[in-house]
């Protein structure tokens, strides 16, 4: 009897250990693609990331060498344009949700923003195609930037709202009690206090849309040369990687790996910056 109970207990212990083991293996499996992707990016891409890559235009088919200078600049231009649209709308919209409005309407708007965040990014490409490309008869940097900017709006809106809600009410009251008007209190006290969090949200959104390809396929379209006018098609790093990856040429494949390495490095740099920023934020707000 005694023995049996002990035996039962051991079995339960073993089962518990086994479950822990399985969970551990799952965790390893989940993060293994990260390591594998990074490993192959370095192996296949590092060799082709050189001075030419950052300064030259793509080489014609068959010619060796060339770079992605136009695509890198193009991505930055697109991000700048997207930021002009997405940042003010997202930030101010987030301010509204956090500071004004009735609970009912706000939860509805919040809900819509979450739904928008779940919409496939290619949908935005189709919509902007109908809205801009068809209307103005051509692919353009404007269209690409708009598509990315629209994606940013709900992302930034939600993060801004969240960090503004974290600002203790005492600061609002202190400013209002000095006879400062509501909007100045929000802009100079509340938003300033939450600025690190707001910037974090903006950076994350930029990093996210900077790696987007689908919304650019038929808006920015891509360009093998420099873009001289925002109403012309423009190259972007993720687009170029896609074009090269599905091409049949080995040299282009190498360029695709190099481009991917550069893009991932950029995205990860932003993420690390954000991590450092947020560490500061939690310290100062709490």
């Amino acid at each position: 009897m005694q023995f049996e109970r002990a035996h039962n207990h051991t079995w339960r212990k073993i089962k518990s250990g086994l479950a822990c083991g399985i969970a551990f293996v799952s965790a390893v499996l989940v993060i293994s693609p990260l390591g594998l992707v990074f490993f192959y990016l370095l192996v296949n891409g590092a060799g082709s990331v050189n001075w030419d890559f950052f300064t030259k235009l793509p080489a014609p088919v068959g010619a060796v060498g060339g770079g992605m200078a136009n695509a890198i600049v193009g991505t930055l231009e697109l991000l700048a344009f997207a930021g002009v649209i997405g940042i003010p709308i997202g930030v101010l919209g987030g301010v509204y949700l956090a500071e004004y409005g009735s609970a009912r309407i706000n939860s509805f708007l919040r809900f819509l923003a979450d739904v928008l965040n779940g919409i496939p990014s290619i949908t935005w490409g189709v919509v902007v195609y109908g809205l801009v490309v068809l209307r103005f008869k051509g692919f353009s940097a404007y269209a690409g930037g708009l598509a990315l900017g629209l994606i940013m709006i709900p992302l930034i809106l939600r993060t801004t709202e969240e960090v503004i809600l974290l600002v203790p009410n005492g600061y609002r009251e202190a400013a209002l009690a000095l006879g400062v008007s509501r909007w100045k209190t929000i802009v100079h006290i509340v938003m300033k206090t939450a600025s690190k969090g707001i910037i974090t949200g903006i950076l994350l959104a930029l990093a996210r849309v900077g790696g987007e390809t689908a919304p650019l396929l038929f808006t920015a379209f891509g360009n093998r040369f420099w873009n001289h006018s925002l109403s012309q098609p423009i190259a972007a790093l993720p687009l170029q990687i896609f074009t090269y990856a599905i091409s049949p040429y080995d040299d282009w494949h190498r360029q695709a790996w190099a481009g991917a390495l550069v893009l991932v490095t950029g995205v990860f740099c932003v993420n690390v910056t954000v991590r450092i920023l947020t560490r500061g934020r939690t310290a100062s707000v709490v």
Partner: protein, 325 residues
């Protein structure tokens, strides 16, 4: 001296600008207008997709969803292969990602040593940050050759008698698409599940431990069963992402509009047919049909997301969804 101080004093209030109600009103209206863009955007997407596909909707009607001919030359368009491909690849992804994601979430909140938790969470957030196109690139050149050489022949040898694993192995195929989607949605399923498990009150755990439960028993009885509804929400949220995943899938799924029993055969999804053929759509009807595919995709993801949001509503998972969006 004294008199001048008195003047200074009384002028403090006088020096301040008169408060203006206009500034307050203007700022409130401005921010309201910005917040309302989310409504505008939802309406805009629906309206644009609808307008872009009216002709196709009129011409094909309900048959668009139920026929499987996709022939741009003859202008016959049926989206069934894409719907099928989207559903099957998403299902494969969920079958892989849900157990792994929830197990990892349980590991992160309940079972793992404390020092390992934060680094693991950071790594998962990094995985979420990898752009889809880069995962696709890796899929084409690393994952597919490996799948083709090792696991697929193995599956075929032992399970070839099941139609799912029969037929020739090409490389790009439905199965590969499902796996790449699984990798894409693992971070969100894991993070949201983790948030949900964290929101389980400690009282639950303590009660289980007090009854002499082992670590796993406490996790299973007290935590996982308590969080069932929320975890289901996480899965649905993952499904929403899976349905709309575009670039990586387009690069590995093979892009052939067919409905085949074997997972080793190429497939096509709603998102990837848009990505692939949109710029090639030479005729109006072709473009219309692609807009309608977009409409179907939009409608489906919006419904799935609505469901997920409703399921997750009561639980504070905001920060998790943000981190991995």
């Amino acid at each position: 001296m004294a008199a001048s101080i008195a003047v200074e004093e009384s002028s403090v209030q006088a020096r301040m600008a008169r408060p203006s109600r206009f500034g307050d009103k203007a700022f409130e209206w401005l921010t309201l207008a910005m917040a309302l863009t989310v409504v505008v955007l939802v309406v805009l997407i629906g309206w644009q997709l609808w307008r872009g596909s009216t002709l196709a909707i009129q011409k094909f009607g309900f048959h668009f969803l139920t026929t499987s001919t996709w022939d741009p030359v003859a202008e016959q368009f049926g989206a069934l292969p894409f719907i099928y491909g989207t559903l099957v690849s998403s299902l494969i992804a969920l079958l892989i990602a849900v157990p792994l994601g929830i197990a990892t979430a349980a590991y992160l909140t309940e079972l793992a040593p404390l020092w390992i938790r934060q680094p693991l969470v950071s790594l998962i957030e990094m995985l979420a940050a990898i752009p889809s196109v880069i995962l696709g690139l890796w899929g084409i050149f690393v994952m597919i050759p490996w799948l083709r050489d090792y696991p697929f022949p193995f599956l075929k040898r032992f399970f070839g008698w099941i139609p799912l694993f029969s037929g020739p192995i090409y490389g790009p195929c439905m199965f590969a698409g499902g796996i790449i989607i699984a990798i894409m949605i693992l971070p969100i399923i894991t993070s949201v599940s983790r948030e949900i498990l964290r929101s389980v009150p400690d009282l639950q755990r303590e009660a289980a431990y007090a009854l002499g439960a082992t670590r796993w028993e406490a996790t299973r009885i007290a935590v996982l069963s308590y969080a069932k509804k929320g975890l289901f929400g996480a899965v649905i949220l993952g499904l929403g992402r899976a349905l709309g995943e575009t670039m990586a899938v387009t690069m590995v799924i093979g892009n052939t509009p067919q409905i085949a029993a074997s997972l080793f055969k190429p497939g096509y999804t709603l998102a990837s047919v848009i990505a692939n053929e949109f710029t090639e759509a030479t005729t109006d009807m072709y473009l219309q049909a692609l807009f309608e595919v977009g409409l179907v995709l939009f409608g489906t993801t919006i419904l799935v997301n609505l469901l997920a949001q409703l399921l997750l509503r009561t639980i504070a998972v905001k920060s998790a969804t943000r981190a991995v969006q």
